[in-house]
Amino acid sequence: MNYSDSFRDKELVQGLARRIAELTKGLDKPLVFMEVCGTHTMAIYQFGLRSLLPPQVKLISGPGCPVCVTPNSYLDRAIALCRLPDVVITTFGDMLRVPGSSSSLMEERAKGADIRVVYSPLDAVQIAARNPGKRVVFLGVGFETTAPTIAGSILAAEAQGVTNYFVLASHKTMPQPMAILSADPELQVDGYLCPAHVSAIIGADAYRFLCEEYKVPCVVTGFEPADVLQGVELLVRQALAGESKVEIQYSRVVRWEGNAKAQAMLADVFTPFDAPWRGIGVLPGSGLRIADKYAAFDAELAIPVQVEELKEHKGCLCGEILKGKVSPFDCPLFGGKCTPESPVGACMVSSEGTCAAAYKYGR
């Protein structure tokens, strides 16, 4: 048995599920916990964890899939850029299918745009170095887990004198949206399963203010089935005892102070800004844009382009789903007008989106 298999041990996982059932036996109102990270959403569906939990524990999915919270306006700008004859768009694969106001990158690729899927932003820098006559734009989306690698690509381009590499940056940061959700009177969250790898960068201390201001338990939780259920058990115990503190379940990776080196890179290359979140709106200080001293690498400033007028898709409940207020099955478009092949909302696009996970594993 390898190391990660030990966190998928059936006896261990079912033992945790039994303990959660015993702890919550007789509760007349279910405890509602939100997993904020898309990888948690996937793990919960992929391993069928909901089917192991008692009805007294309800898991809802929050705004933790980076593709899903990327707004139409960003996609529209990326699409406008890819239509320029000398622009090569480089991106992680998930972004291809995300619908903008009237098109998607996948459609533009079929029409002839030069759009390449890369596995690391450093590959995009290499493409730029090999194609000096092209302007190579990397689509920089994601949370604090991906942002340091993109900061690294800008530093690498600078060090190698690659001047035709640009980043269209729309990074999001945690935990600001969790504060917005905690303050929402329509939403009663009894605790958060805090993201695993984001927390490895920002540190578990980042969640303390949530516990203090909103009296909500926070447990930084790993992605394996036993991790998730142990995270749930810790949340149940806090909720039943009326406590609200930060705990680290994922102690094999996450420290209270986080990764100082990655934090320093982020502070050097990026500047916090008021970022727009799909379905949630503009949240103060919740995103990272490229800092002024690296403005030459900022695609938005360096490559002016006419962007089409913003159109939101009617009937799509992505916003409410991202806030955990409704489940994908409540959306009138789910599985009919909106499927992974022809998604209306971003939650259906990314493999980590709540709707895509529900479509693939949950029906």
Partner: protein, 336 residues
């Protein structure tokens, strides 16, 4: 959204491919509905039963660990015939070459085609070669068509799965897709995984003595085991329940999949078959497979647990239950 264009996902073997067949191709060209389609057509010509199949190969890169586009083009069509229980007799080969393609690489591809055909016991009897201007093709595309003799009276068909059937796979899943992916430029993962590209007609011959206990044979190529099982469940109107812990998966494939966020159930195979066998003969079928060089890691991975409108579900390693759907769009690596 614009639905007028062919997207890459239309060639994925998943739901979009099915849609294209259902909405555009089959209404124009075939009287057999998509749900009745098998890997090869069965023909009865003057009392002689034949299987007939065709397939085109556009794999990128053309050379990958464990094979190349040439042996793939032979094995793929041989396997489509074998899945009807047919004995492959002869193949045609069509090449579309791009101007500027290297003769040395073509010679290597031809050599492995010859070897693969010999290994499968099939003759290449006719062919065609076209060259397109540089930039109008991608180095080399190959089409092969094949004819096989059907020498049994069994009903081996995607629509023949029955409640109680055991689902058997002849070895580790996902090897081909991961071998190709790790050889792709820009990824360069040294996974040590080799493609499983192989002709399965010999293995099928050893299964035919199971007679009427052998209900379905199908090779889970594009779209992987999940998509193929979903097709069979839909065709037969049954529920298939998989047992995740019994899925044979190479640790290297597991590793690459977890790095890239892929699900091995959706990754392509080129030397695997899924057999639906009546429960009383399932252990015997498993033993037959394990004695064959292409079936050493064979395993019973699930069973048909009821009738339905075509449901596939899986009991996960931790004892939870989840649904299994067809591949949607392309399998895209995840972002974080």
């Amino acid at each position: 959204m614009n639905n007028d264009l062919i997207l890459l996902g239309h060639g994925s073997g998943g739901r979009l491919s099915h849609q294209l067949l259902e909405e555009l191709i089959i209404p124009q060209l075939s009287s057999v509905p998509v749900a009745g389609q098998n890997d090869a057509a069965l023909l009865n010509i003057g009392g002689i039963k034949l299987a007939f199949s065709t397939d085109s190969y556009v794999v990128d890169p053309i050379f990958f660990p464990g094979g190349n586009i040439g042996d793939l083009a032979i094995n793929g069509t041989v396997n489509d015939l074998a899945m009807m229980g047919a004995r492959p007799l002869c193949l045609s080969v069509g090449f579309i070459l791009e101007e500027g393609f290297s003769k040395e690489e073509l010679a290597r591809i031809l050599a492995s085609m010859r070897e693969a055909a010999e290994a499968a016991g099939v003759a290449i009897v006719t062919g065609d070669t076209k060259v397109v201007p540089k930039g109008k093709g991608d180095r080399i595309f190959i089409n092969t068509s094949g004819i096989g003799a059907v020498e049994h009276n069994l009903q081996i068909d995607g629509a023949s799965a029955q409640v109680g059937d055991k689902v058997i796979v002849n070895g580790c899943i996902g090897d081909h897709g991961i071998a190709v992916l790790s050889a792709r430029e820009g990824l360069e993962i040294d996974s040590g995984i080799q493609s499983d590209s192989a002709a399965l007609n010999g293995l099928v011959t050893s299964l035919l003595p199971l007679g009427s206990a052998l209900h379905v044979l199908r090779d889970p190529t594009r779209g992987g085991v999940a998509t193929t099982l979903k097709e069979i469940a839909l065709q037969s109107g049954v529920t298939v329940t998989l047992d995740e812990k019994s899925l044979p998966i190479n640790p290297g494939v597991k590793g690459v999949c977890s790095i890239l966020g892929l699900d091995p159930l959706y990754v392509a195979n080129e030397g695997k078959l899924l057999a639906f066998v009546a429960p009383e003969r399932a252990e015997e079928a498993l033993a037959v497979m394990r004695r064959h060089p292409l079936g050493e890691d064979a395993a019973i991975i699930g069973e048909v647990t009821g009738t339905s409108s075509g449901k596939v579900q899986m009991e996960t390693v931790v004892g939870g239950v989840r649904g299994v759907e067809m591949l949607a769009g392309e399998q895209l690596p995840r972002i974080c």
